[in-house]
Subunit: 218 residues, 2 copies
DNA sequence: GAGCAACTACACCGCTCAGTGTAAATTCGA
DNA sequence: TCGAATTTACACTGAGCGGTGTAGTTGCTC
């Protein structure tokens, strides 16, 4: 048998139904279209066209529009979570100058919104759909997305506190306050990146937020 | 002429086109339906039925669906702004115990979200629609809604600082930080009131937020 | 080559919906 | 009562859309 193993993945491999590359294309297209148009306005036809697949194929991979939406939201949250974990590792694992490290961390975290515009556009769509989403699914979203940032940040802050650089008894709350004073402020003013804010203004807000945070916890 | 002046307002008075009571009914119904269903999913048919008017009448008063949406959003913001102004006056005009007054103010302000569920539901819809709204209209919204809270809160904080109870050089920033640490935290966790949070938890969060704020500015 | 799974390319169905037009009815002032 | 403005109650148009079915095509294994 001298057949080269084709790089192209197709049926017949021992995988779930459907070709993975098609599923990936659909998910990526869906993120873009849902992000751009919101849930209701986004059409499955448009997603199929964007993915370069037939609509029939979309329905072969996902039960319906809502399942597609939620799958894409949660997958996107996983990606963003991984990116933010790296940002945390880069800036918070080793503290040289606490204030500067927190500022750099927060600026990079703000920048993550720009790096994942589709995802955060989709976040806005999802929040608007909150009352139409079954509670367990909404819970799954919160756990996959917004909650993970705090769960990952708190241990870093606790370690920093253990080194005597911060005084805190509730690391979760401290993590929340840091995020509120920096990321949430920017996100509110930019509608999660939809409306640009000048970089100097972002830096000002983040710097003031970090100083305020340190005022509380140092 | 012994005709009593009828309380009923109808055509023929020297007013803008259309009966004001019809316009009011449409606006109120629109707020409810947009809030419940979001912009795209809300139908003009449903709004007309909810208002008890014909769809023809809706279009007699508002150019189209988008104009209706934005008019309702801005009118709602004016109402909420007035309510919050009262809350500020009640709690911040005279300071007895600064911490407690700030806590009470913030708790009442959180409660305002519950008092205006339709409006804040519509806020979620509007934020999701941010990229589809013409920039000038979005600006009008920001000025009518989110921005006014800060503009009204900052002078109170400045006065409190003048009495030596707070130390701050940037009252706008202080106002923003107070809102972030209290209202924004709750709103994020409840999706602007869509998902209930137990009252004790709300009180905890607000109390911790106010203490943090005072730690920064006192 | 045969058989099977997945995909493509349509067509279709039933429904919804923003916006418009029109005739009849209602309201109000002169 | 008349006339004008507004509203009501439909009907209509053209478009869109979630989801489904089906026949033909493609790719892979035996």
């Amino acid at each position: 048998m001298t057949n080269l193993n084709k790089a192209r993945t197709g049926p017949r491999q021992h995988e779930p139904r459907g070709w993975p590359e098609k599923r990936r294309a659909i998910a990526e297209a869906a993120r873009r279209v849902f992000g751009r148009d919101g849930y209701t306005r986004a059409s499955v036809d448009a997603i199929a066209a964007e993915a370069g697949v037939s609509k029939r194929t979309v329905y072969n991979h996902f039960a319906d529009k809502e399942q597609l939406f939620l799958a894409v939201a949660i997958e996107g949250a996983d990606e963003v979570t991984a990116a933010i974990a790296q940002i945390m590792d880069r800036h918070l694992r080793k503290i040289v100058d606490l204030e500067q490290d927190l500022i750099d961390f927060s600026l990079d975290r703000v920048a993550a919104v720009t790096a994942f515009p589709d995802h955060f556009a989709l976040v806005r769509a999802l929040e608007a759909e909150a009352t139409h989403i079954p509670r367990p699914m909404l819970r799954a979203w919160i756990d996959a997305g917004p909650q993970t940032a705090h769960l990952r940040l708190a241990p870093y802050l606790r370690k920093i506190a253990d080194r005597g650089l911060l005084r805190l008894d509730d690391a979760d709350r401290a993590a929340r306050h840091l995020t509120l004073l920096t990321i949430a402020d920017i996100n509110q003013q930019t509608f999660y990146g939809a409306v640009p804010l000048p970089q100097e203004e972002i830096t000002d807000i983040v710097t003031a937020g970090v100083k305020a945070f340190l005022h509380i916890y140092r």
